[in-house]
Symmetry: C4
Subunit: 363 residues, 4 copies
Amino acid sequence: MERTTEAGFSTLSDLEEVASKRVLEHVWAYVQGGAGEERTLGANRSAFRQWTFRPRTLVDVSRIDTNISLLGTMVRAPLFVSPMAYQGQVHPVGEPAVARAARDAGILAVYSTLSSFSIEEITRNSGSVPPWFQLYLQPDFEVSRRLVERAEKAGCSALMLTVDTPVLGVRDRQAPGGFAIDSTVPIGNGSDVVPPSRSPMEQGKFYRLRSEAGSTWDILEELLSITRLPWVVKGILTGDDARTAVHHGAKAVLVSNHGGRQLDGAPATLHALPEVVDAVGSEVEVYLDGGVRRGLDILVALALGAKAVGVGRPILWALGAGGEEGVRRYLDLLKLELATSMALVGRTTIAEVDRSLVAKTDI
Amino acid sequence: MERTTEAGFSTLSDLEEVASKRVLEHVWAYVQGGAGEERTLGANRSAFRQWTFRPRTLVDVSRIDTNISLLGTMVRAPLFVSPMAYQGQVHPVGEPAVARAARDAGILAVYSTLSSFSIEEITRNSGSVPPWFQLYLQPDFEVSRRLVERAEKAGCSALMLTVDTPVLGVRDRQAPGGFAIDSTVPIGNGSDVVPPSRSPMEQGKFYRLRSEAGSTWDILEELLSITRLPWVVKGILTGDDARTAVHHGAKAVLVSNHGGRQLDGAPATLHALPEVVDAVGSEVEVYLDGGVRRGLDILVALALGAKAVGVGRPILWALGAGGEEGVRRYLDLLKLELATSMALVGRTTIAEVDRSLVAKTDI
Amino acid sequence: MERTTEAGFSTLSDLEEVASKRVLEHVWAYVQGGAGEERTLGANRSAFRQWTFRPRTLVDVSRIDTNISLLGTMVRAPLFVSPMAYQGQVHPVGEPAVARAARDAGILAVYSTLSSFSIEEITRNSGSVPPWFQLYLQPDFEVSRRLVERAEKAGCSALMLTVDTPVLGVRDRQAPGGFAIDSTVPIGNGSDVVPPSRSPMEQGKFYRLRSEAGSTWDILEELLSITRLPWVVKGILTGDDARTAVHHGAKAVLVSNHGGRQLDGAPATLHALPEVVDAVGSEVEVYLDGGVRRGLDILVALALGAKAVGVGRPILWALGAGGEEGVRRYLDLLKLELATSMALVGRTTIAEVDRSLVAKTDI
Amino acid sequence: MERTTEAGFSTLSDLEEVASKRVLEHVWAYVQGGAGEERTLGANRSAFRQWTFRPRTLVDVSRIDTNISLLGTMVRAPLFVSPMAYQGQVHPVGEPAVARAARDAGILAVYSTLSSFSIEEITRNSGSVPPWFQLYLQPDFEVSRRLVERAEKAGCSALMLTVDTPVLGVRDRQAPGGFAIDSTVPIGNGSDVVPPSRSPMEQGKFYRLRSEAGSTWDILEELLSITRLPWVVKGILTGDDARTAVHHGAKAVLVSNHGGRQLDGAPATLHALPEVVDAVGSEVEVYLDGGVRRGLDILVALALGAKAVGVGRPILWALGAGGEEGVRRYLDLLKLELATSMALVGRTTIAEVDRSLVAKTDI
């Protein structure tokens, strides 16, 4: 009861509303907003409603084991915290609080180049599951290299390259002035880190050359050469791109549309998942983020071939609603609902969750 | 007119709203709530809107016969009261009042392990159609055995084993404290009866072993050995599970998703019905509950192969709206609408209601 | 402008709302209400939105001819006023005013057994297109015979037998007391005329034998033997029933679900139309009513095989909104929109309106 | 920032609402209204939501080239201002302001016969991309000829014949009095220009012969004979009509349903596009208007075969919201979003935008 009070919310149903009242309005617009008309933002969520389960009953579900291994590291559940920038803007405790909550939940978290705290401070607050570091390519490749070296040295066990941000998507909720960063909250990884793009209007009359915009798949091989850590490619939505990523050395791909924040009109990630799994699922791990809110969503994505599933906005909601305690509670509820759902469909291990578990809803 | 006043509502259209105003708020949340986002709760209802009738006109419908036999007992309509816990919380008259209304309507009712009144008191208020007793497996099998013996001795003519509750579903409307039972209303069947699961949060950090969770299909054979009454298995949603239930001795299966209260993401029961009917409909009786509100719903489910149809929440609404008189009126309206609908589609007996009566709606 | 004021409304878009404010509340409930949950009532309308036109341009549309012949009588448009009871309750001018408006529009109107004015008074106000008379079978066949004789003698040119009312549908908006007829408005055709059914609750505990309920297709042959006028069968929704009607001597069938007032769950008439046209369209005329509101609806139904289309509720709305002048204006607008739509799709005669004009909407 | 203030709106999301508050109510009704129930108006827009992109990542998108050639003239983007009447009613600066904004954006604009300013004044404000002139056939062909000659002499480089307006569609929002033109705003092209049709009610009892209504495809050949400029046919919705137009000499066709203002029930233009492209896309240029609001809409239409896309209402919104500055800003945002979307799908030139870019949304 006391915990509920600390977390600020009590169930997955009231989380978003509680957070909307606690987070500053302009930060909330940044957190919630999507690109364009937010079609993709909405589609990410509604895609999950198109699948129903085919449960098995009277299976011995007295022990539910949600453990899996992600790129060789055991985690307590097939879910991870997706990389999200500026967590310190949502709540001053920022990424280190998320790290402590993830540590205690035994799950993986991925941190953004644009974190409010440095990667070293974040890893210090992490546990036996080392965090991963997400890289936005920097205008100067030497800065990218330095960030990778810092992440590796700090103890990260994998790196994630975002490929869906050559330019910034048009986000009307943030216009015209763009997301106004509270300048008292530092960019954790240093002053030479540059956001992936200025606001579209600042890109000037029509379009302006930027270094990330010029990157091609060769960059992945360059990145492979500067570290021994495995690379995950984030932002894949087709089988072709997935094959290309693997061909260039990716050890995993994350099916993602940047939470609907980049290309409005991009497919819901759950729709894109099966094609990517068919293309590269037998060779590398395939993850998904976008629209995951509840435990049953995880189960649906896993049934369709995802190895693990990232959660994004709900982590920020939980952080905004109750700081570290909010994130703890959200992860507890998520894991509980995952385990409960597994019990109710009669699957006791993640290995038993396969395509036979779900059917397309007949609407 | 006076009856209307006593019943508290006048038509099937105003029943739910009347009840919502008369039932205590926390009890109403318990009655209405479903698991998770309540997708399955909504799908149960909307599934009925996907079918339309193919009526025949100028058939002699001067006599409509809705009688059928359920496991050998004649009833006046192919509908039954589904088992629902704690009816005394909704209205102090509780299960005995429901029993009297069912008796006078000539229909079957099934009572929960977790009834507010004892099974003996319920059967005393029942008529020529003996009630059935629903069993939640108890942590101690001896308690289960004792409950079965009491039900048989009290005059129940069949037993119903619920198999979709190895753990309790996540029901946000009841969180965080869970459904607070009014302790002045007793658990009718004795103090050693244990609800099927504590609230999810009480299941503790992640998951806790429970005896029901460990049950497998062997339990059905064990239960068959302790009584001569036939067993109905409740909570089946696939053809595979239906075949397994019949293989282990079930005399009937009830296609049910627990009114959308257990596994969010479970299919609408009306969607699941044809597969179950195809699998075991030629061997045993197949029933359905979930989303049934009106007379025409019964006709749709029967056309798709159900032998009879259970009604749940509307009984609680009627009980809350007008106590025993409310339930009487609801059952009257339901039977009237069933008979009226049969007349209007040109079918005079239940035997004439088959797959040719309905067509998938072209939306 | 003055006319607009007299009619009470100005376009097809504001008609219903204007009427809702001018008609007495209990009469409005009777006019608007459908059976059950009003699924069929809604489906009748939404079915029209599933079709789009395939227009042809640069066709000479300087003359649009909407004339057709219905059972041998030329009318100025392929539309008719569907039979509706108690028009004097909606506005004191009642059926004679509708007759005068239909006369001046050159279109057919069908009048109910349960008209507020006598069939003789109605025909006196009709023009060169003789009205048709709709028959509800009376408990005493001699009364049916007398009504038919009166209609024939008064100058009606065809008779319409309603077959979808063996019992009255369950209409919650009229419950519990049923539609309270204002007793100062007489039943036009005499005191021995009996409404097709009492309210469902009055049908007593469960169901009560009534003579109409016992009618079969033989009754049609009996009716054919007492008049030389052709019979139209109203209330057909399947090809089988259409064939049976024709086999027993019907000269036309009206695809109708009684405006969604009888069997909730009946298909939208527009969905049922093609099957009926396929079954009997080459032998007899096929009409449709249900959901027709605007000129383009007429065109859609004709493209799908209807010979003519009945309008119901909008006539009552227009009558309620502006009495005779309201009906005139509604018919003007309807005919204007039909002609305008024909011009815009490049069809100048009704004969050119065929299946090639429409395509199923890709939603 | 100052520009935002001048433009009156800041993003594509707030444009319509800002405009609705600044434009006079009766003009707004004229701008926004569609025919009938506005089904087609709505369908135009929703059709775009049925397609999603298949993006390619890590493509070098540092230079995005949106240039194309339209009937031989280079333009800076595959979009044009659709012809719209009476722009001076929306804002006193009218068509010349639109022309200056289009000039500076380097895009094509098409002006209506019914412009508030003369075609000579409009062309004087245009730049290196000559405007096109839209012709409504006049009752007296000599007037049509004179308009064509004026347009050619004034420097227009193509002519557009509207073929979907033989009579005016039924637009309830403008009824009963029709669109009341502010008589202080002149009809730019002279007093003998006649609007394509009077309001439907003025067409009198049923229908009145009009010269445009009598036109057939021969008129196109007549028009070809009086000018050397190429003709575009506007208002095509089927492959058959497209072939006929090309057969009679059209150099391009514009798939259009007049912004949903003429034939309610016409298909969404995006649905009609592929059939027209299949029919004549290899011979002539195919354009589309209707429902285009944002940059990604342009990309979808191009992927489905359009050579260029017209924008209509948003130009009036922008004009109403901020006069010339509003139109500039709208065109800036539209082009920016187009370029941004191209970068995010990994296509750097319009030639790379083909059918492989989009997939039907799985709803």
